[in-house]
């Protein structure tokens, strides 16, 4: 209890005087993590109804997820689109961020504005607009259509991550390699790339997750047998709440925790 009376900052405010702030913080953190963690025990419930805490332990919802061809197909579509979007967004975004960072490009500000657009536009507009356009190009329900939209949506995040990566790297090293006869591409791959690899990893994680998490556009341009996992989950949430979703959610949370761990590891090893 002595700790409470000790100064908490240079203003000599005591921990006791800040106690109310600590209480708010603990509640806020509980509020933040509760939904993520609650789905885990729920998914092992044996009951048809959503109850917490669960009364019987069972793996039936995992069984119903992994043996359902419809859920498996939706999962596969989501993973497929997320991987394709991750690769294309990381490559296209890195190229664009590189050009904007190193070059005396004309219309630089306007170009940054253009590349930031996907963040600024409410996603519902992209959904309605892309449905209208894609319906005429027979791109509805195609991997290409979804990948196109998800890549564009992920692009600003990739560019932000890569620009801060380039900012923490000394570009003169690449200049040195080029003055010694390397082509720009060769210099980039052998000199720059190894040093910004951690930014590349974060950009890839971001773009994968942004595609995997995207619901609204997928709801419009993927239907029926072409529906993504998110779209299918959204539909079953609206109709009747099926505990299978708890099992799926637990799988997704596990993947998220893995992604955070990978992200933290790559950051803690990144050169400062």
């Amino acid at each position: 209890m002595k700790w409470l009376l000790q100064p908490a900052s240079m203003t000599q405010v005591t921990h006791l005087q800040r106690l109310w702030l600590y209480i708010i913080t603990i509640f806020a953190i509980a509020f933040l993590v509760a939904p993520t963690l609650i789905v885990i025990p729920m998914s092992f419930s044996g009951s048809e109804f959503l109850e917490f805490p669960p009364k019987h332990f069972s793996l039936r919802w995992y069984e119903s997820y992994f043996t359902s061809p419809a859920w498996m197909r939706a999962t596969l579509i989501s993973v497929n689109v997320a991987i394709l979007s991750m690769l294309s967004a990381t490559i296209i975004g890195t190229a664009a961020a590189y050009a904007l960072w190193v070059g005396r490009i004309r219309f630089k500000t306007a170009l940054w504005g253009l590349f930031a657009l996907p963040i600024a536009i409410p996603v519902i507009l992209l959904a309605v607009g892309s449905l209208f356009v894609f319906a005429r190009l027979s791109l509805v329900n195609t991997t290409l259509g979804l990948t196109l939209m998800h890549t564009a949506i992920a692009l600003p995040f990739v560019m932000i991550v890569m620009t801060s990566g380039f900012a923490s790297y000394d570009m003169n090293q690449e200049q040195a390699a080029r003055s010694l006869g390397a082509t720009r591409l060769y210099a980039f791959i052998t000199v720059t790339l190894p040093q910004i690899r951690f930014s590349i990893v974060s950009a890839m994680l971001f773009s994968f997750f942004s595609s995997f998490d995207e619901v609204v556009v997928a709801m419009f341009i993927s239907t029926g047998s072409g529906a993504t996992l998110n779209r299918k989950m959204f539909n079953s949430l609206r109709d009747q709440v099926d505990p299978t979703i708890a099992a799926i959610s637990t799988c997704l949370v596990t993947v998220s925790i893995l992604l955070i761990v990978i992200g933290q590891l790559s950051r803690s090893r990144a050169p400062r």
Binding site: S9, T11, T25, I38, L117, V123, V128, F234
Partner: protein
């Protein structure tokens, strides 16, 4: 090539070569931008352009302002914007009220504890929005954990109606929006020079006064930019209010969806969307301006 060039000629030749190399360099860099520009043209500019066009096409297929006029004259649309603004405002106020103290304490924690606490803010950020919405649906239901807990504690007798209404929508939205304020606010608070607060206190300011007159003004630009961003993101919110509102809360995004897909009135849906877009972009420009002032700081 029998005579060697005079010095002036050679330097102008050199200049020519350098100019060409410079041009080639710039063009090759600009070429790297092309895939990105082409992608955005197809996936962003084309759909938005088409919506802009559709919003100006009247029922008879000619150019007209009737879609926008209808937004103005039909009370339903006014109501939708009214509800959207009110829910977004309430959510933003809650996010600000919880987010500021949270970011403040996070920024003042010892480093080791800070890394752990930040992980707890990042975890929801990396949890799919649908998973969190689903969890809230379960937590907030009539006999969910929260209602049963409150009844168990004897605080209430009848379960509170927490989901399938505005309350549920706001609870879910606040949880999703909180990291969007806390993470940037945290880093702008970390950038505040602690010596300034020490100086204030050295000059006789009470802790409350040092906070009010020194720390808070310094954190204000980042705070304002953050809450504006949260408000903007709320305006376009779809999934969480749709599920937790249980169909009783109609925000702009849901109205646009229903108008386009249910009533297949693309003109009306587009004009609603364009109005939402214009409001959003204006607010983002304000947020960017405020944020840029935050970058300059007050004492530099």
């Amino acid at each position: 090539m029998s005579t060697s060039p005079t010095p002036t000629q050679s330097s102008s030749l050199n200049r020519e070569v350098l100019r060409k190399a410079d041009r080639r360099e710039r063009l090759s860099l600009e070429a790297l931008l092309l895939p990105g520009i082409a992608l955005l043209a197809c996936a962003i500019l084309l759909p938005i352009g088409v919506m802009l066009y559709l919003s100006f096409v009247g029922e008879d297929g000619s150019f007209s302002f009737e879609n926008y006029a209808r937004l103005w004259t039909t009370p339903v649309y006014g109501e939708v914007f009214n509800i959207t603004f009110r829910i977004s405002l309430l959510t933003t106020i809650m996010v600000a009220a919880i987010g500021y103290p949270l970011a403040f304490i996070l920024a003042h924690l010892p480093e080791r504890l800070q890394n752990w606490a930040l992980l707890f803010v990042l975890l929801p950020f990396w949890t799919p929005v649908l998973v969190r919405t689903y969890a809230w649906l379960v937590l907030l239901q009539d006999h969910g954990l929260i209602n049963n807990g409150l009844i168990g504690l004897g605080l209430i007798k009848e379960p509170l109606e927490l989901s399938h209404n505005v309350t549920g929508a706001i609870i879910g939205m606040v949880q999703i929006m909180l990291p969007f304020l806390v993470l940037p606010l945290f880093s702008s608070m970390k950038a505040i020079d602690q010596n300034l607060i020490a100086a204030a206190s050295n000059l006789g300011a009470t802790p409350a006064r040092a906070f009010r007159d020194v720390f808070f003004p310094l954190s204000l630009p980042g705070f304002l930019a953050g809450i504006l961003m949260v408000f903007v993101l709320c305006l376009g919110f779809y999934v969480t209010p749709a599920v937790l509102g249980g169909g009783r809360v109609i925000m702009a995004a849901m109205r646009i969806d229903a108008t386009a897909r249910l009533y297949t009135n693309w003109g009306a849906a587009s004009s609603l969307g364009i109005v939402l877009l214009v409001i959003t972009i204006l607010l983002i420009l304000v947020a960017t301006y405020v944020g840029r002032r935050a970058g300059q700081g007050m004492f530099r």
